[in-house]
């Protein structure tokens, strides 16, 4: 509660800057209200994207400027708006209040708290719509963003400032990869801390609640912000959610910090925009999406950036998620977003059903710029594993014909099976870079060749425990993100052999 002294102080400060000039207000009248879109006459001086306020304090945003009227999308349900009500321009474009106090909070795209805690008042107003940083301010992606998932960190590496799409059917673990990445930022000590923003668009409240609980349980909420525009929120809020998330990310970027932003998911974002566009009577194109649906996503993802040192050196890494129908990545929205991003992690249902989790199709997944952000540690083993896996996939296709195989081919097949097995990983258990290296090193150097395929997973977890207990020095040395030298490799070899003596199949 504000006390009398504060009120008087506020009045005094207003008095010192008090302006005697008349202020003009642009007023309009509500003509029509159709499904959350208001058509109003008047308002001849408003601009596109300007915030307006209705009589009952309901807020809206200008989305169409016609000859005699304007179309406004409502930012809440606005049930009390009637024909003839007045609507006032504010002269402000849509903004969100951003500050460090938002960390650990759950908010909606207007910055209103959804976690029952008080609204964050201090901070900086960041515009929702902003032109992305130009080429002069940027530098190439050069720092890794560790996901803690072996398959991704070794074969589809993500760099800070990259836009990496996560694409696949429903229920294949797209959100799980994003959440694992957020959780993993806690243990990546070799690089600067990463602020994580999770933007839930058109999702069930129960799903978002589960994610918040999981982040909280893993102590990841303290460096994260959850922005939720659920399925029950108006389409306008779902449309604004990713831009609001990006505006918050830009606040931290301005301070030179690294930010990871997850858009979960852009398919529903496109649906929300399609709904708004159809109500606004904009011409419909393919799959009834409006003509600017590509621009909608490209202007958002273009705001992912790695700034150069002169501009603070911060970064925004974007992980957009797209849900496909029946593995069809050639649909309109998936192809659009694939072409915008710097690579994609493609999850496939048959891999998921065969027990490979995360169900990443390594062949169709790609990281176009992340390779240059690989650490020397992982780089020293990733190439070999990728090659072995590619050979295994080619051989496995031929081996299906049932012809007799020569011993070398059979050995390659066996190695491939173990490599595939080692890439399996449980949900919410991201690994540190050192442990990722040790697992991949063990399989590529043939130490797992004599371990039955169904025991590989147990071998890996016990091997990690053994190293943590008996050889912490090795883990510490590998955590420095430097290429392991001969001496270190010898120590790893010795430790592996020691463990194998103890390991009972």
């Amino acid at each position: 509660m504000i006390n009398s002294e504060e009120i008087i102080k506020q009045l005094e400060s207003n008095l010192s800057t008090f302006s005697y000039d008349s202020r003009s207000k642009n007023i309009g009248k509500v003509e029509k209200n159709t499904d959350g879109v208001i058509v109003a006459s008047g308002l001849s001086r408003v601009s596109m994207g300007e915030e307006v306020v209705f009589e009952g304090k309901t807020k809206g945003v200008i989305l169409n400027l016609d000859e005699d009227s304007v179309s406004i999308i409502l930012l809440d349900l606005g049930k009390n708006i009637r024909e003839g009500d007045s609507v006032k321009s504010t002269g402000r474009i849509l903004e969100i209040n951003a500050s460090e106090d938002l960390l650990g909070r759950v908010i909606n795209p207007l910055g209103e708290p959804l976690d029952g805690k008080p609204r964050v008042k201090k901070g900086k107003n960041m515009p929702l719509e902003k032109i992305a940083a130009g080429v002069v301010e940027r530098e190439p992606v050069n720092t890794p963003l560790k996901t803690g998932i072996k398959a991704i960190d070794s074969m589809i590496p993500i760099g800070r400032g990259q836009r990496e799409l996560i694409i696949g059917d429903r229920g294949l673990g797209k959100t799980a990869i994003a959440i694992d990445t957020i959780i993993n930022q806690k243990q990546d000590k070799s690089h600067a801390k990463v602020i994580c923003i999770y933007v839930a668009i058109g999702q069930k409240q129960s799903t978002v609640a589960q994610i918040i609980n999981k982040l909280s349980e893993k102590n990841a909420l303290e460096y994260s912000i959850v922005l939720n525009a659920s399925a029950s929120d108006p389409a306008s809020l779902q449309y604004l959610a990713p831009y609001a998330g990006c505006a918050i990310a830009e606040y931290f970027l301005e301070k030179g910090q690294d930010v990871l932003i997850v858009y979960d998911d852009l398919t529903k974002h496109a649906w929300a925009y399609r709904q708004i566009s159809l109500v606004l009577r904009r011409p419909a194109g393919r799959e009834a999406y409006p003509g600017d649906i590509f621009y909608l996503h490209s202007k958002l993802l273009e705001r992912a950036v790695k700034l150069n040192k002169k501009n603070g050196g911060g970064s925004i890494t974007a992980l957009p998620i797209i849900e496909t129908q029946a593995n069809d990545i050639s649909a309109y929205i998936p192809t659009n977003v694939i072409s915008i991003t710097d690579g994609q992690i493609y999850l496939q249902s048959d891999l998921f059903n065969s027990g490979l989790r995360p169900a990443i199709n390594v062949g169709s997944s790609v990281s176009r710029v992340g390779g240059s952000a690989l650490t020397p540690t992982i780089k020293s083993i990733a190439g070999k594993m990728r090659l072995e896996l590619a050979q295994y996939r080619a051989l496995a296709a031929f081996a299906q014909f049932g012809s007799e195989l020569d011993p070398a081919t059979a050995a390659e097949l066996e190695r491939g099976k173990r490599t595939t097995e080692i890439l399996k990983q449980s949900q919410y258990e991201p690994l540190s870079e050192a442990l990722e290296f040790l697992s991949i090193w063990a399989v590529t150097t043939g130490h797992l060749d004599d371990i039955p395929v169904d025991q590989v997973s147990r071998f890996e977890s016990e091997f990690h425990e053994f190293l943590k207990m008996k050889n912490q020095k090795i883990i510490d040395s590998l955590s420095k993100s430097e290429k392991p030298n001969e001496e270190l490799l010898k120590q790893i070899e010795k430790a592996t052999l020691d463990f194998k003596k103890m390991f009972s199949v």
Binding site: Q10, S22, R23, I27, L43
Partner: protein
């Protein structure tokens, strides 16, 4: 009749900023229900555009010199004076969809909002 033509008809229904009842009767008799709805909308629009509403707390506060200033400033518009004691002090000028506030009520409102 297209919407553009209705707009033209509505504009021509005014003579020296005032609606001409004869013209309105003539035009409206030849319109369909939908056209008539648009015609009324445009009449309202042009009528508001031709009008300036000046609101003061009390009408006797306006001096003769003020009247001259307003007439000179809004030479081609019909000026309507209205009384609203809630303004307390000052003036409000309504020019179609633009509202200029220079009164105590608005100042208090601005202070209240900033708190």
């Amino acid at each position: 009749m297209t919407r553009k033509q209705i707009k033209q008809v509505a504009l021509r229904s005014f003579v020296r900023n005032n609606l001409d009842p004869k013209k309105v009767k003539l035009f409206s008799s030849k319109m369909t229900r939908k056209q008539l709805r648009d015609y009324i909308k445009y009449l309202k629009f042009y009528d508001a555009r031709n009008k300036i509403i000046i609101v003061v707390p009390h009408l006797d506060m306006i001096k003769k010199t003020d009247l001259k200033v307003f007439t000179k400033f809004y030479a081609n518009k019909k000026i309507i004076y209205q009384e609203d004691p809630s303004l307390l002090l000052g003036i409000r000028v309504i020019n179609n969809d633009l509202v200029y506030d220079l009164n105590l009520k608005d100042s208090f409102e601005n202070i209240r909002q900033s708190i």
